[in-house]
Amino acid sequence: MSDLEGIKKQALKDFAEFVSPMKARTMKSAGLDIIEDRREGASVWDITGRKYIDCQTGSGIMNAGRHNREIIDALKDALDTYDIGVFLLCSRQKADLAKKLAEIAPGDLKCSIFGTGGGEANDAAIKLARGYTMKPEIIYAEKAYHGHTGFALSAIGRDAYKEPFEPLVPGFKMVPFGDAEAVRSAMTKNTAAVILEPIQGEGGINIPPDGYLQEVRAICDEHEALLILDEIQTGLARTGKMFASEHWGVVPDIMTVAKSLGGGIYPISATVFKEELMDFFIPHPFIHLSTFGGSDLGCIVALATIAYIEKHDLAGNAERMGRRFRVGFDRLLADYPDLLLEVRQKGLMMGLQYTNQSIGPRLTKKLAERGVIAVYTGNDPTICRFMPSLVITAEEVDFVLNALEESMRELSKEGGIGKND
């Protein structure tokens, strides 16, 4: 065993002993017992030197690419002068980032409060909706995923994440995703907000029917309820536009952004909202605080990330590389009908629906053997999610498609792949 293999073995052993034995076991079984070492662009190298194209990217943390040098340099420069900052004080960095978010956000979204992650951003959004409207009810969608924190957890559309912790925050109503009439039926005079992902990520890359988001927007307006759009996975150019809601021309009242906002370098999230909602915070300026949320360093990293996304037109690359993936996916769809049912895609937010749930985990393993990291979605194991960095090149797209083709060819020779298996 080489030194590096020994280091890897020890790291996995220690992880199993001190962090999570079941996670270590599951990753090993899936061929994903990878100890990340070098990272660059769309790729990551295992500590033993094996290269992988990363199509998981922490469910969309790495839009600007892995270990992005420009973003790292911005952080290094900042560290010469700044630290996290005192959250109680006003901050130029927070102001700069809020101003930039107002510039790139859809419509008249203008003000921001900051957090460290997506769940915290959605917690803040739901608190703001309840506080501003003085109404308690929140409508959310089946298979939705908004994070594992208090309010956000109550809006997750998967019982397994919630049941051990019940009772959760009351007043949450679940409706089918993509069904505007169900939203209308669930609306009451006590509805504060509807919270949705424009495209469901963990739910299986569920793209709503055209007109759905517009209708929900109209229903919210009719009932004086707010619309919260969770753009945590879909935002920052992932779908070919800066924010996915732009595909349907819908402006929410509150939008949450996280994951790639930190450039894969520094945790930060934002809850961006319309100016009129600031009326809730004016008499309560200290009612929602976050010690580390929107730290000066985090804001600098976020600004550098947005600048990188704009400068390199990553939305355009997501669109172009998405089309290249689509050609390959369509070919696989025709060649492997026993394995593949459907392709779901907007830019580089992509999901392949398999014919049965065992295929997702099995294909994950086969792809890992061929140097591709791609994992089925949390709330629907029949869907394998592909969310590579938006800096991915045509050659890398072809590499992933070849790995998929080889994996499917091998899998099609094995048993247990049909719809009824």
Binding site: T26, R362, T364
Partner: protein, 119 residues
């Protein structure tokens, strides 16, 4: 190929191993399931009742509406019940097929991990 009696013998061992493991019982105390095992090469079926983490019964045949169906070769069933194979590995290799929620697939693998951590 394993006979029906050999599989029942392995199931009996599995029941003892599971029920005597207090850590496993505590961990699975919120888990009650009806499980069918299908030996695909011999055509035999087996039913197992798990109530609050305890295997309360097992028997030949497919009784009731299962929460989980595990299908594999008879030898794999015996090896799984004796802790001689990693069920998660075999699942990912396509040799064991499981119809269940992802949570239940994980629970089944957790049983092996707790009783036979080196498998």
């Amino acid at each position: 190929m394993a006979t029906k009696d050999e599989i029942l013998e392995a199931l009996a061992d599995y029941q003892v191993q599971c029920n005597n493991n207090q850590r496993l019982r505590r961990m699975q105390r919120d888990w009650s399931k009806l499980i069918h095992f299908n030996s695909e090469d011999t055509g035999d079926w087996f039913t197992m009742d798990v109530v609050k983490g305890e295997i309360t019964a097992f028997e030949p045949g497919a009784r009731g509406v299962p929460d989980i169906i595990v299908t594999t070769l008879s030898e794999n069933l015996c090896d799984m019940f004796w802790g001689d194979l990693n069920p998660s590995q075999k699942y990912l290799d396509g040799e064991i097929k499981v119809k269940a929620s992802q949570e239940d697939v994980m629970r089944l693998d957790a049983i092996t991990m707790i009783i036979w951590p080196d498998v």
